[in-house]
């Protein structure tokens, strides 16, 4: 890229954000897979139940709020201390 978005001074913040995000992503993937397996094993869910599940209004609102919080955390991390006072 001839005119990069991120420059050398941005790389440390990007690395921190990436590692934080990857850690949280793995915690969620591990927990989700474990939960699905436990529920299928117990006969509570069929194997594709989560894939095809459609959130109701309450769950949609909850997901919207949590997704906004996640994105805002990411943006905050990417821009933290990036501007001189």
């Amino acid at each position: 890229m001839s005119n990069p978005n991120l420059r050398t001074v941005d790389m440390d913040r990007l690395g921190q954000a990436l590692l934080t995000l990857t850690k949280e992503l793995w915690v969620t993937k591990d927990r989700l897979r474990t939960l699905e397996a436990a529920l299928v094993d117990s006969g509570t869910l069929t194997p594709d139940a989560v894939e095809r599940y459609q959130p109701n209004e309450k769950l949609s609102l909850e997901l919207n709020n949590e997704r906004a919080q996640l994105i805002n955390q990411l943006l905050d991390t990417l821009t933290l201390d990036s501007i001189d006072p």
């Binding site: 941005d10 997704r67 994105i71 821009t79 990036s82």
Partner: protein
């Protein structure tokens, strides 16, 4: 038609849409730090870029904002296509069934597509206009309805319809829309002129098929055909209104002139061309003009944006042979800009 995305597609689209929206909060902060007085900036886009761009690009938050926007632009097409593949087996029979009904498509097997169209990845969207066997659904439903519409506060369909409402005609007998894509503006035209015979063309067969599905689902009889606006392949002087929305900024200036000449040819004497598109540069202050140019011409995958926005479409219409032409923005926001051009009573 009703459909439900699977969990990965739904969550991915929601994430992309929210990232685009929420990262916008960085923009006013970078604007404030840059501190430009619009009245002290040059008017001409190249000079503006030379003066303003280095200041903004030296701001770390601006670079994060650009990274977020680049990511959404470069990922949205692939995310939409991947989301489609998750539900293909569920919805493909329904999509195919909707191709039967009152609306027909006349394909052009010998289509000689203009150079500006062929292989062009619009808005950096993977695959171009025809890059997927259901690109019309991918573009019209998954990208526009689920990703773009939320970023315009859910009013993109009302914006499109406002262009048809601006046409100085009541109940025209025969209307042609050029560059109808997946039929989003066609819906608005059909709502404004429910009793008109509606024709619509596009170069993309896949987009026309999505327009056809919408029309058939709503029992609308649209005459859809594959053609370029500058070479419609229709008889002279048969339409009362020729209209388009958001097409002219996607084509080079010589194609704009050629389009308007072709509209004039197929219009009846006294008929109108009504062309809606993005806001002209002269309607922005100098700093807002820089932003519009930077994010669209330079970083939005819109190579003809600046040419469109810096040339008076009314002058081009008069050059094409229309006898009256006016080009201005609608409402307080002056958005979209609309050309209303009249063909003389005797030509």
């Amino acid at each position: 038609m009703d459909y439900s995305l699977h969990q990965r597609g739904r969550a991915s689209i929601d994430f992309l849409s929210d990232l685009r929206n929420l990262s916008d909060r960085l923009e006013p902060r970078t604007d404030a730090r840059a501190g430009f007085n619009p009245d002290e900036l040059p008017v001409e886009p190249e000079a503006l870029q030379k003066q303003v761009t280095p200041v903004l690009e030296s701001d770390p938050e601006f670079r994060v904002l650009r990274m977020c926007r680049d990511w959404t632009l470069e990922q949205h097409g692939q995310i939409a296509m991947d989301s489609f593949e998750e539900i293909r087996a569920d919805i493909e029979p329904g999509l195919q069934a909707l191709q039967a009904g009152p609306s027909k498509i006349k394909y052009d097997g010998q289509l000689n597509a203009p150079a500006y169209w062929d292989g062009y990845e619009f808005h950096k969207s993977s695959g171009g206009w025809d890059g997927h066997d259901y690109m019309g659904f991918v573009h019209g439903e998954l990208i526009h309805r689920r990703m773009v519409n939320p970023n315009f506060a859910g009013i993109i369909y009302a914006i499109r319809k406002s262009v048809a409402e601006a046409a100085p005609l009541t109940n025209p007998a025969k209307v042609l829309e050029v560059g109808c894509c997946s039929g989003q503006y066609t819906q608005g035209v059909a709502e404004v002129f429910p009793d008109s015979e509606l024709w619509a063309c596009d170069l993309s067969a896949r987009q026309l098929e999505q327009a056809q599905r919408y029309a058939n689902e709503h029992n609308l009889k649209w005459k859809l055909f594959q053609a370029a606006g500058e070479n419609l392949g229709l008889a002279d002087e048969q339409f009362d209104l020729v209209t388009s929305y958001a097409m002219f900024h996607e084509i080079p200036l010589d194609a704009s002139l050629a389009n308007l000449k072709e509209y004039l040819r197929v219009l009846k004497p006294g008929g109108y061309a009504v062309v809606g598109d993005v806001k002209a540069y002269h309607a922005y202050n100098n700093y807002e003009r820089w932003k519009n140019d930077y994010w669209n011409q330079l970083h939005g995958g819109d190579p003809f944006w600046r040419d469109y926005a810096t040339n008076n479409l009314a002058d081009i219409a008069l050059e094409a042979g229309f006898t009256e032409a006016n080009w201005q923005g609608l409402g307080e926001r002056q958005y979209p800009f609309v050309l209303i051009a009249k063909k003389g009573a005797a030509s």
